[in-house]
Subunit: 433 residues, 2 copies
């Protein structure tokens, strides 16, 4: 299934790219013309991989290669190139469920760990749009549809258990990137670690989180849920940097963190980045009126996203007529039992919500106190101002983890955000917020 | 890893056995002498496989072959022979943790799916001992030690998550026997199914269970936990028919149902069979005094088993000093945090107990209303008497599933059993017991 990653692997450079693509007749035909006609560009801006865009007379393509180390960290942090295999496996598994909400995969080179896929243009990264204050109302609906379809159809609710077992057997091999998630999301932010990139004025918050045993207990529950709740096939890194948008199109990209895990993880990750965009917004240079307007839109997006997810997930389930082991149709056939099945569906979705809110909070904390910082905050030039925006997000996340009963529905989550705005650089006063 | 099961596979007969063993020099040496000196016996009494015992001048061996169908059902029910590969993989994974509590594996033939292992003599099947009224006080302690070591050391509490991921990748392939568990434990007993072998006088109970939507909701929770809670490597079929005993030794055998699943499953399965032995005891021919004495011992065994499991599991955890992802030591280093870690360990074990009690009830029901009936009840010759014993077990199991809060500790579980003795053949009066 996997070639030995050490055999023929070599890093593809911008200079080598045309010759490489010319060796793939179907791909060359999609570009049209010959190598002299192709314009190639290095556009890597994620943390892990090489990414090139290529344009020819007949069309454009995106070429992505997994590097044997973490690109932003350099060769001192090695990383298994087979993650490209898992990204392609994930994309192929998703395709029937999510259609055009993910880019088309045209070619996978299993020796070089290179993926050739649809070039997304004029799509931009959702994170950039959020920072620029450009609202994309389709995105929460589209991403809700994506996650609802993925998390229903790859679960035991939608298939005989053998289907998920096959996914489990395959994606259990994707340990290189799971190691990143386990360390960077669930462990490092709560200890002193050289990888953590904490803004200096947030030192008090970081120390408070390291000492907060209630918080670490809550995070342990989240980590154990991540490690042991094998509910559905997840994207595993579904944030605003993994979504490309135009006014009319949404594409979820970069599924290399794919794993079988708790369905609430992708949901919470997506919400977390809207929450952080909301906390960062006042410091992105727009005036108070525009800030208020855009924040209202972000808050509405979060509500729309969850409501759409819930409706779509339930619609998939109610409409499902195939064989599945999770809730066997034979047990819930008569009208009374069918009514109870509906109660159980709603209870299942309520569990997903609780998980999602828990993971949302973990995702906020790791983006502020951990290694992989996000541009939403990094573009704020003044370190103290940036830390104040981040502290508000931290205070919110801490409250969510310590007091989950206060966040029993999506309206409560959204309504609570403004209360944490003035949290400030001293973590103590907001302890019980 | 797995040979094509269709290539060279042939069913080994008693007549072929000596020549087969003679072709394995190390095995032949263990027997001593030559084929003419070996005494071979067909002793299959499980549901699935061929089992032979072989004695030679130098020693004895057990030879087990996976048949391409369910032995007790015949060729009409095909079954993947690769289960022998999973049995051996499970045994090898357990060996460092459970030592002599499992038989030694001497040889695995990956083409014929034959396992040659330690012959257990004069061990008898625990179920036979329970039916005969022969008490084995070591068994609950030994099995508790076995499950405690297995469920701790193969979990994320005792290793970096990559270890469980490797187990997951392997055992996710063991779908043939998982299909049996999913169908026979969690589905068939609650529907009309040709495989179900319900005693005629229990027809009322079977109908009541098929119509009981509260019960089916509880069973759905159990089934989803079985399918999605990837906590540790389980034996998967750990009942009194999978344990061989002498007065001084306990051996857990037959790990072919192995899976990554909820740790409470094996615990609940073991308890379930002591509970059923307890309900069956009055009809095994001993007088009232002996019945009372043996039942008291069985009840004590259940208490001892759980208390020993809890103590040993916690001891493994408290004494663990290696790297693990479940509860990272770095988060719980200082004295206050260490005290909290202890609270969390107890909470984890309390969750295992709740799961165990739930699975115990499911296991009782499947042995009464499903396909694989057990000798504890089958040896009761009078069908009505047998049904009354089974009805009491069913009433108890139903109460456990419908009212879990009443069964908050092992003493409550044991203390409740006598209340269901007179349940009778009409399921209605005990509805709210």
């Amino acid at each position: 299934m996997l070639d030995n990653p050490n055999s023929d692997y070599r890093i593809l450079t911008l200079a080598d790219l045309p010759a490489y693509l010319a060796g793939l007749p179907d791909i060359a035909a999609m570009l049209g013309g010959g190598t002299a006609d192709w314009r190639c560009e290095d556009v890597a801006d994620g943390n892990l991989n090489s990414v090139f865009l290529v344009d020819g007379p007949a069309g454009g393509l995106c070429v992505k290669q997994a590097l044997p180390y973490v690109r932003v960290a350099g060769e001192s942090w090695p990383m298994d190139v087979r993650r490209a295999f898992f990204e392609v496996s994930y994309a192929r598994r998703m395709a029937p469920f999510v259609g055009s909400l993910a880019p088309a995969i045209h070619h996978f080179d299993a020796a070089q760990f290179i993926i050739v896929m649809e070039k997304l243009a004029p799509h931009i990264i959702l994170r950039s749009a959020l920072i620029a204050g450009a609202h994309h109302p389709r995105v929460p609906v589209d991403v809700a549809d994506y996650i609802a379809a993925a998390s229903f159809h790859t679960s035991d609710l939608a298939a005989p258990f053998e289907t998920k077992a096959a996914d489990q057997a395959l994606f259990a091999g994707n340990i290189g990137l799971q190691r990143i998630s386990v360390d960077l999301v669930f462990t490092d932010p709560y200890v002193i670690h050289e990888r953590n990139r904490v803004t200096v004025p947030l030192a008090g918050w970081a120390a408070a989180f390291r000492a907060d045993i209630d918080l670490k207990e809550a995070v342990t529950r989240a980590r154990l849920a991540y490690l042991t709740h094998a509910q559905s096939l997840l994207h595993g890194d579904l944030h605003s940097g993994s979504i490309m948008v135009t006014a009319t199109e949404t594409r979820v990209i970069d599924g290399e963190f794919a794993l079988i895990g708790p369905s609430g993880f992708d949901i919470g990750n997506f919400i977390a980045h809207y929450v952080m965009a909301w906390f960062a917004k006042p410091f992105h240079g727009s005036g108070p009126a525009e800030t208020a307007r855009f924040r209202d839109l972000l808050a509405a997006d979060i509500l729309v996203f969850w409501q759409r997810f819930e409706a779509q997930f339930l619609a998939h389930w109610r409409g499902f007529a195939g064989a599945a082991d999770g809730l066997p149709a034979s047990h819930f056939a008569d009208p009374v039992a069918a009514a109870r099945a509906e109660t159980m569906r709603r209870s299942y979705v309520a569990d997903l919500f609780r998980d999602a809110v828990m993971f949302m909070a973990c995702k906020i904390i790791r983006r502020v106190l951990g290694f992989a910082q996000i541009a939403d905050f990094l573009v704020i030039p003044d370190e103290v101002v940036r830390a104040q925006a981040q502290a508000a997000a931290l205070a919110f996340a801490r409250s969510v983890l310590l007091h989950p009963a206060r966040y029993g529905d999506i309206a409560a989550v959204v309504a609570a955000m403004p209360r944490f705005e003035g949290a400030g650089l001293d973590p103590a006063p907001t302890r019980l917020l």
